[in-house]
């Protein structure tokens, strides 16, 4: 998976996507491809199908027409491998309120098998040092979001698919996450993101407008 | 004194098993009822002191 110098390779490509929901065509003939070092921001009004497209690209939504390729192979035929190489975070952060920050992060990153030390460091990174053993019930919404985001520090997946990751974050959190995205992209990773937040100054940033025309 | 020897006291006139089972179970439950708040208090004090130290540590940097 290490990209050769100069020669960028396409990680994920989609062509001729067609999807409708409740008798409404969300997108038709949509094509998209992402190579390493790129960040694609899906934009568009509410209900334009950003989340639907994101889940479709993540392989969670199979109710569509068109082609999805992971390294030029149909995605569904190599789904377990794909799943190991892309990190998906939805609106819902899968954080259990009665468990502590550490226990939640341990579950979220179970597939990466991090060491105890890595978990603590990741929590420290999201400014949750000292809250490791605090039940998430007692954390604010933003702090709970940070628990979920701490897995970005641990994951080794080259492709990140993030749905509105900036929700509930404060100013420090937003700039931290922007830094993380930038670092990931410049290390040869790729990101597909939906966000109403204006991302700026990230090399390789592309915006994809959805919806508007029905 | 109703009993003339310790053995007689333990035997409780053939009902020893029932009497001592009752008293034993009661002792276990009572011990639990008493120990729980004491242990809880100890844990509470420890956790909160920890939180206080943490807040003090984080306060100057924030």
């Amino acid at each position: 998976m290490t990209p050769q110098q100069g020669a960028q390779q396409t990680l994920l490509s989609a062509s001729d996507l067609y999807c409708e929901r409740d008798d409404r065509v969300l997108f038709e003939g949509l094509a998209l491809s992402i190579t390493d070092g790129e960040l694609i921001q899906l934009a568009g009004p509410n209900g334009a199908g950003k989340t639907t497209l994101l889940r479709l690209l993540a392989g969670l939504n199979r109710d569509f027409e068109g082609q999805l390729l992971w390294h030029d192979v149909p995605l569904m035929t190599v789904y377990p491998e794909y799943a190991g190489n892309r990190l998906y975070m939805g609106h819902l952060s899968a954080v259990k309120k009665s468990l502590t920050a550490l226990e939640n992060l341990r579950w979220l990153t179970a597939q990466d098998r991090p060491s105890e030390k890595q978990l603590w460091e990741a929590l420290e990174h999201v400014a949750l040092a000292g809250y490791e053993h605090t039940p998430c019930l007692q954390l604010s919404a933003g702090q709970q979001r940070r628990v979920a985001l701490a897995r970005l520090k641990i994951s080794r997946a080259p492709l990140w698919i993030l749905d509105e990751p900036f929700t509930a974050l404060d100013k420090d959190g937003v700039s931290w996450l922007e830094g993380e995205l930038q670092a990931h992209v410049s290390n040869g990773g790729a990101v597909i993101i939906t966000s109403h937040h204006a991302l700026e100054g990230i090399p390789g940033l592309r915006r994809l407008e959805l919806g508007g025309v029905v | 004194m109703e009993f003339s020897s310790l053995a007689e006291f333990i035997a409780m006139g053939k009902h020893g098993f029932y009497v001592w089972l009752s008293y034993g179970l009661t002792a276990v439950i009572i011990a639990f009822v008493v120990m729980q708040p004491i242990l809880h208090r100890r844990r509470l004090l420890k956790e909160q002191a920890q939180r206080l130290r943490r807040e003090k540590r984080n306060a100057p940097s924030a």
Binding site: A58, D63, P80, E81, Y82, L92, S98, W107 | -
Partner: protein, 222 residues
């Protein structure tokens, strides 16, 4: 498999943090069984005859009640999404969930059943049959129920619907288990019934996780 293992661990931890999760069905079990002597007849000879059946009906209802929440929280907080995103086998995941459910519902029910046996004057010869039938039968209840729970996880009023879906599927287990306890009580052999329960368990272990896994995918909101 690492996420499956982590989920099993997390669910056990959750049960330890929220004792209501396993204690409430247990209390329900006790209460339902206590209703029968009050509604019918507290006469020991009479109770001895119906004890096995009453305990089994109570165990069945208690299991059913605790099933409702099996997948609901995971659907609501996004854990389900993460399972699907992980690419791990949903068969293993639903098997793991069902086994955890048994550990926090069926197992405590089995362990508590002798107490109910005493209260309902179960014949002494029937205790072992009661215990073994619960130990083999309640995992089947958990496994079958997990399918129903997966089907109804994202429905708001899933509880009653779950009961309607699952109760007919519980009938065979109830018939063989209650008959095992009854036959043991009147001093007859009951290994045939227990063998039937064992066969049902083997079948449920092999098949229901597929159905539950498939049903789980339906809960992914769009």
């Amino acid at each position: 498999m690492s996420l499956v293992r982590a989920t099993v661990r997390r669910d056990l931890l959750l049960a330890a943090r929220n004792p209501g999760e396993w204690a409430n069905p247990l209390m329900f079990f006790l209460m339902v069984a206590a209703l029968f002597p009050m509604a019918v007849d507290p006469n020991p000879e009479f109770l001895a005859k119906i004890a096995g059946g009453v305990i089994w009906v109570a165990a069945l209802l208690a299991t059913l009640l605790s099933l409702d929440s099996l997948y609901r929280a995971d659907v609501e907080d996004g854990s389900l999404e993460q399972w699907l995103a992980s690419g791990e086998s949903l068969y293993a995941m639903s098997l793991g969930k069902a086994l955890v459910h048994w550990c926090i519902s069926g197992l405590p029910l089995t362990l508590m059943s002798p107490l109910l046996g005493v209260m309902l004057h179960l014949p002494e010869e029937a205790y072992f049959a009661l215990f073994i039938s619960l130990a083999v039968g309640t995992p089947v209840l958990s496994l079958l129920g997990a399918v129903g729970a997966a089907l109804t996880a994202s429905l708001r009023s899933g509880g009653l619907l779950l009961a309607l879906l699952i109760l007919p599927l519980y009938v065979p287990v109830l018939i063989f288990a209650a008959s095992a306890v009854y036959h043991a009580g009147i001093g007859m052999a009951y290994n045939g019934q227990v063998a039937m329960l064992g066969a049902m368990l083997a079948l449920a272990l092999a098949l229901t996780p597929f159905a539950a896994g498939a049903a789980l995918k339906l809960n992914l909101s769009r």
